[in-house]
Subunit: 349 residues, 3 copies
Amino acid sequence: MNKARAGNYFEDFAQGQVFQHGTPKTLGDGDRTLYTALYGSRFAHHQSDEFARMIGYPRTPIDDLLVFHMIFGKTVNDISLNAIANLGYADCRFATPVYSGDTLSARSEVIGIKENSDGKSGTVYVRSKGMNQKGDIVLDFVRWVMVRKRNEKIAAQQEEVPQLREAVEAEALGRSCPAINVSSWDWSAGGSTARFSDYEIGERIDHIDGATVEEAEHMMAARLYHNNARVHFNAWQESKGRFGRRIVYGGHVMSLARALSFNGLANAFHLAAINGGRHVAPLFAGSTVFAWSEIRDKALLAGRADVGALRVLTRATRDMPAGGFPLERAKEGAPGVILEFDYWALIPV
Amino acid sequence: MNKARAGNYFEDFAQGQVFQHGTPKTLGDGDRTLYTALYGSRFAHHQSDEFARMIGYPRTPIDDLLVFHMIFGKTVNDISLNAIANLGYADCRFATPVYSGDTLSARSEVIGIKENSDGKSGTVYVRSKGMNQKGDIVLDFVRWVMVRKRNEKIAAQQEEVPQLREAVEAEALGRSCPAINVSSWDWSAGGSTARFSDYEIGERIDHIDGATVEEAEHMMAARLYHNNARVHFNAWQESKGRFGRRIVYGGHVMSLARALSFNGLANAFHLAAINGGRHVAPLFAGSTVFAWSEIRDKALLAGRADVGALRVLTRATRDMPAGGFPLERAKEGAPGVILEFDYWALIPV
Amino acid sequence: MNKARAGNYFEDFAQGQVFQHGTPKTLGDGDRTLYTALYGSRFAHHQSDEFARMIGYPRTPIDDLLVFHMIFGKTVNDISLNAIANLGYADCRFATPVYSGDTLSARSEVIGIKENSDGKSGTVYVRSKGMNQKGDIVLDFVRWVMVRKRNEKIAAQQEEVPQLREAVEAEALGRSCPAINVSSWDWSAGGSTARFSDYEIGERIDHIDGATVEEAEHMMAARLYHNNARVHFNAWQESKGRFGRRIVYGGHVMSLARALSFNGLANAFHLAAINGGRHVAPLFAGSTVFAWSEIRDKALLAGRADVGALRVLTRATRDMPAGGFPLERAKEGAPGVILEFDYWALIPV
């Protein structure tokens, strides 16, 4: 019995294969605090029980991206320990709010497999679901990763590439958001008076601030999420690798960009869905992350007069302020865009 | 509508102007833990529910300086995002104990304005108040900051400089301290047998230990406090700035010095008031902080036989042990004093 | 009255002397979270209340090594502030489970004293006990440290060297482990199907992964534990010292090695006893820690059919992968073994 596992390789995955991932996690007050300390998020309903209750939550819900990272993290040991790259995310829906005291677990199903033409690696598509202790699905998303083959001589499996939505349909949004009492919304506490009607499609917002990342921070974050991908932790190994150093977990960039976006999107309180996310270049400790957003679409939610949805495309850059709304991908250590993050956020109407 | 804000400049402030600051915060167990991990504070009633209950608290109160940072942090976005320097604090009173579960919010009023003679910047004085969820004032203090002008051609406003107390009067102390059951004070658990009568006016104490500061630590601290001043986070920008690098939040030094002062002031358990605080030189990551204290005054509290007040002046240094009781200000990266912190601490009689 | 203390020196210790250590600590949710973020431990019953309840705990117990560090940390101020080296641990028994909300305190008794032949230092042996708020002993262990003399001219004390067990006897194991409901053990959630019968005496396991350590991490950990040994914190002082830099708290290595050992020992959920621990070389920030384990013994527990005990010897290395099962001690900054950690772990039968 081989008790320590080196992770799955491309040829270990099969269409329809299901993984029940290890180590469920009970979320608590400490997770909320540490998340704030790592990213500086200031969305009021995540910081204040009073604010959350005033607008209709029983108490502060766990940050949506913290839920995402916790579920994502559990999948790493089975899915992406030998990943060359996290290629993307799609069709990510937040389905049930998560509170301190809830216990999250995760399972994934392989929904697509495609070998690369060089025969050395391939792309694996999985649909991952996060569940709370009652068995309710709290999160559901697709991701695809490029994974090494262990043995390049093993023949390619039959190719299966899933059809993925370009964006989550507006009708599906809002399932993890209770009825919001907009008349009780405290705009001073919220940090801005801008609401649904104040944003226009095509509008661009420079989030101005920059956040420099340290090794201790991204490693503490990834460990908190049970994300054990070696590239984040093992400087000895990575010093011999592609980049010569540890790579920051891509989700860390998502959370930094979301926290920076508070300056401009302060009342866009809830991530209802992630339409897509692409890490177009890696981030390393020592770099400074900036972000800017574009409003791609707006949608009213069927049967709801409390909140509407903004479709936001946030781009994070490294070592390049976002005032010029840069589009160019960071290459070879140069400044530029590292993340394209397309999501639906709810905001009071 | 300009949705992302670059902060207020000198000409945006007017005498009597009031700011209700954003993002209230519910304090929890995680905040207490992280505060301990960042500073190493060992005052027993902040670490042990049992000790706190034994002496008269319902349970461990939140560290006074953590309360201060939480309120201070909320004011930054409106008051000091474009500050050149945090010049000082005065007349800071802790008025109500704060416990895990309390939600803090903050508001500030401009109480003074004075343009600098060069016409490029000026000093803004604000009185900031922190409230809990019941509306009780938990903290009340004055600070003054030097703020840049956006447009140097705008004429100076009428000068108003507030009269500030040199020290909080002893009669006002103790409002946030319940009756202390001194007969139940466990001096072993407290870490020392020294009490009110053991300290003499003029006495100097070298706190001996040194604490080196890392970038990850001071950024996690500032984010925990919702302090979003750019100088702490944005290495890219600061590499082009005055010092060539990020500056540690001044309050971080106050907390380090207070934690170091446990070795010599172990039973001086509660900061009842801050008479004044001056950051006489900046701190950068990589430096080691030392501290020494002088007992400036002693006062018995009217109607209380349980605790007395020591007026302590703690000086923090960088890269200079405090055994010689150094007074000289650190200049241009050289070792020396960086903080003068004058406060009233309560201690069993 | 000398209020700030520089710690005890060799001649300050006497056989039979008892220390009641300062600053009791109430453990909470934040401690659990931060511990996970610092080490990445994924043992399921420490992460999930649901998993813990399913197998027989009232809720997730505090990680055994976090309990150890909390008790150890309290002893530092009295025992090892002037230690040259932490020589070893022995006869460490976990006697009562610890839960969030419990308050821990510590006391130590000097059980042995032996001056070194050079007359400059000596070894002090102490038995330290950790108690919860009810007075139950939660932990009991012996450690010995080499401590400097203040005054080399003071004559040696009478030598007393305690007899120490080579290992905790199997009959004593399991006191801090409730009856485990093995039929409810979720092997997927646990991360492995390997149980007592799957391990063989003499078996070696490479835990594969590596974890690089940052200054911010080990300092936050040591402060969380109230461990105020100067070598961990004071870069200014240590730059003039033996190694030219801060030394990572040895217990940090124990926790890293234990967390790495999850990959291979996932169901070895509970440290029932530590037979011995030796820090054979120091660790510095920037190094990467690897680990491998050898199963030294197996024991069934009298009257228990739920769990058995594996005697595990885990070796941690710095900057050397553990696949070759290295035995050689790291010397002078070179790669090699830094920790030998011999413990009994319980695992479902």
